[in-house]
């Protein structure tokens, strides 16, 4: 059982609490995290403000003032939340099925979009065709969304594609498909970023007007397939978003 995995609970500031199942990217742990996230979204704790899931942890932000106003028997709101959080770990996984989606995403791996693919080929001593083949032959899991709205952290890539992110963030176009370590991801908007870019998708990863604002969500399975630039342009009818300003993030 997953519950036997060791975990640690700690405060994230004075109005957040995190339960962490270790510094690992593990499909089983992540599956449990997403179930727990689902359960706690559907059955929020009292004073829960919002809940965020990551690879192997869940963070709950809570209404500190309201909690402290109404709960007087605990020395801190944190202690109270901790107790509630631990008791909700007993939820029934079986009755809490998470929707499983398989999503196919077209990617154009041609040179005009794949700004780092040749460097990667040289460094990893494989051909561009092999990179495309390796990238499209794996089913990826969306472990979490973060960094930017709609940015999905996916893994795990073939070990032949394992490559460190750039030292300095560069400006990256919306739709760019990148790799970093054993992860792959898609930039939802033009942004500074450090992932090695091997292609671009015409699919919008984020649409503020839609009911489902982000194209992907944690727990999805993603398959990439290769398209030509003609196909890319015929699918990509939307004008590019204007360039962004601001500090570079670490993704």
């Amino acid at each position: 059982m997953i519950q036997s995995y060791p975990y640690k609970i700690f405060p994230l500031g004075d109005s957040g609490i995190t339960i962490d199942f270790g510094n690992v990217i593990d499909e089983q742990i992540n599956q449990y995290i997403i179930s727990l996230f689902q359960y706690m979204s559907d059955h929020p704790l009292p004073y829960q403000k919002e809940i965020v899931s990551s690879f192997s942890s869940i963070t709950i932000y809570y209404h500190l003032y309201n909690l402290r106003k109404n709960v007087e028997t605990y020395s801190t709101a944190y202690e109270w939340m901790k107790e509630k959080l631990i008791s909700s770990l007993d939820f029934d996984l079986q009755n809490n099925r998470v929707e499983e989606r398989v999503i196919r995403i077209p990617v154009c791996y041609e040179k005009e979009f794949a700004t780092d693919i040749e460097l990667l080929a040289t460094e990893k001593k494989i051909s561009v065709a092999e990179i495309i083949q390796l990238h499209t032959s794996v089913n990826y899991r969306v472990y979490m969304l973060g960094f930017l709205h709609g940015f999905a952290y996916m893994g795990i890539t073939d070990e032949q594609l394992d490559y460190a992110r750039k030292k300095q963030p560069e400006s990256i176009k919306a739709g760019s498909v990148g790799i970093a370590g054993r992860q792959t991801g898609i930039y939802p908007i033009d942004s500074p970023g450090g992932w090695q870019i091997i292609g671009r998708t015409p699919i919008k990863m984020f649409d503020r007007e839609k009911e489902e604002i982000t194209f992907l969500k944690a727990g999805d399975t993603v398959q990439f397939y290769s398209i030509t630039s003609e196909e890319f342009y015929s699918l990509n009818k939307t004008p590019p978003l204007p360039r962004e300003r601001g500090l570079g993030g670490e993704a």
Binding site: D14, D20, H149, R208, P242
Partner: protein
């Protein structure tokens, strides 16, 4: 017909308390940098605390009032003037139509807030009016305010005091919240990766002073000072970070994540600014000195509760005075 931007400032956006419930999609809460000042502005004119306000950085916008308004300006002191006459922060002010609000000099602080009684008529995005510049959504068309923009508000009133004067200062004001610390002292609680720091770095964190860097913005305040060393070289996978999280960057520098921070990050979280001190930190101009003091969870919570009680008092006081005044 309401309020018009005559001249754009460097970064004037609509903000409220923030957008919550979407961080799992990577959508950050945003919201005012100095929540306390933003909430105070609203309370001064008897608004709900969460009404959208304009947040200004310096240089700030110049604004034309097309109709009478009851306004309040709080936060940083940018030397506000109305038709050239100096006006004050932290007081409710009746403004006569066809007046011009301008800000002539940055005296102290970083972020300044303007609210009007009744609030602006704006369409929320995901239950909030905060401007998300990256997503280009929320606030005013998802962007900073520009010349010619018009913000509508419903409230309108006639008052005989405005017959003779361009503006009239109502006879009460907000007092500063006493956060029981020195001007440059910022309280923090240790983060989960606090123990990554070497013993010497832990000492330096609390004993040395840090300077806020010029590259600071709504996403983060970078700090200059003694570089800190992590004894743990293990790479961290991304997990939640929030407004007030202090991350240790690979080069040994610290960054405090601010209102527009990312939802998740992978740098060690050495500490978190306590909620009650975020207002104070947000008003630090580049080059300001800050000194960290570690407090425990209970102190952090108690100070926040105190701050909220202070706001409640202000709310009751302002509502009462306003009712009396317009009776």
């Amino acid at each position: 017909m309401s309020l018009k931007i005559l001249k754009a400032g460097i970064l004037d956006t609509i903000q409220d308390e923030g957008r919550f419930g979407y961080q799992h999609l990577g959508i950050n809460p945003g919201g005012a940098m100095d929540l306390l000042a933003m909430q105070t502005a609203n309370l001064l004119v008897a608004n709900e605390m969460n009404k959208p306000v304009i947040e200004f950085f310096y240089p700030a916008a110049e604004i034309f009032f097309e109709k009478n308004a009851l306004i309040a300006i709080t936060g940083a002191n940018f030397s506000p003037t109305l038709n050239g006459h100096r006006i004050k922060n932290g007081v409710p002010l009746m403004v006569k139509k066809k007046s011009v609000l301008a800000f002539s000099k940055k005296k102290n602080g970083q972020c300044c807030y303007l609210t009007v009684q009744g609030g602006f008529n704006l369409l929320p995005w995901l239950n909030s009016n905060s401007t998300n510049l990256k997503a280009m959504a929320g606030g005013y068309e998802g962007r900073k305010l520009m010349k010619g923009d018009i913000l509508e508000f419903d409230a309108d009133f006639k008052n005989e005091r405005l017959k003779k004067n361009d503006f009239y200062k109502l006879p009460w004001r907000s007092v500063c919240f006493n956060n029981e610390s020195a001007e440059d002292e910022i309280f923090v609680i240790p983060g989960n990766e606090w123990d990554y720091l070497t013993a010497q770095s832990k000492k330096n964190f609390t004993n040395k002073k840090f300077l806020t860097d010029v590259s600071s913005d709504r996403m983060g305040y970078r700090l200059k000072g003694e570089n800190l060393v992590s004894a743990n070289k293990e790479e961290l996978i991304s997990s939640a970070v929030n407004f007030g999280t202090i991350q240790l960057l690979p080069n040994g520098e610290l960054i405090v994540l601010m209102a527009d921070s990312q939802t998740t990050g992978g740098y060690p979280r050495v500490a978190h600014i306590i909620s009650a001190h975020l207002s104070k930190l947000s008003q630090k101009q580049p080059g300001s000195t800050i000194k960290f003091t570690i407090v425990n969870q209970q102190t952090a919570e108690n100070l926040f509760v105190k701050q909220q009680l202070h706001l409640q008092q202000l709310k009751n006081g302002c509502n009462f005075r306003l009712q009396q005044f317009f009776k």
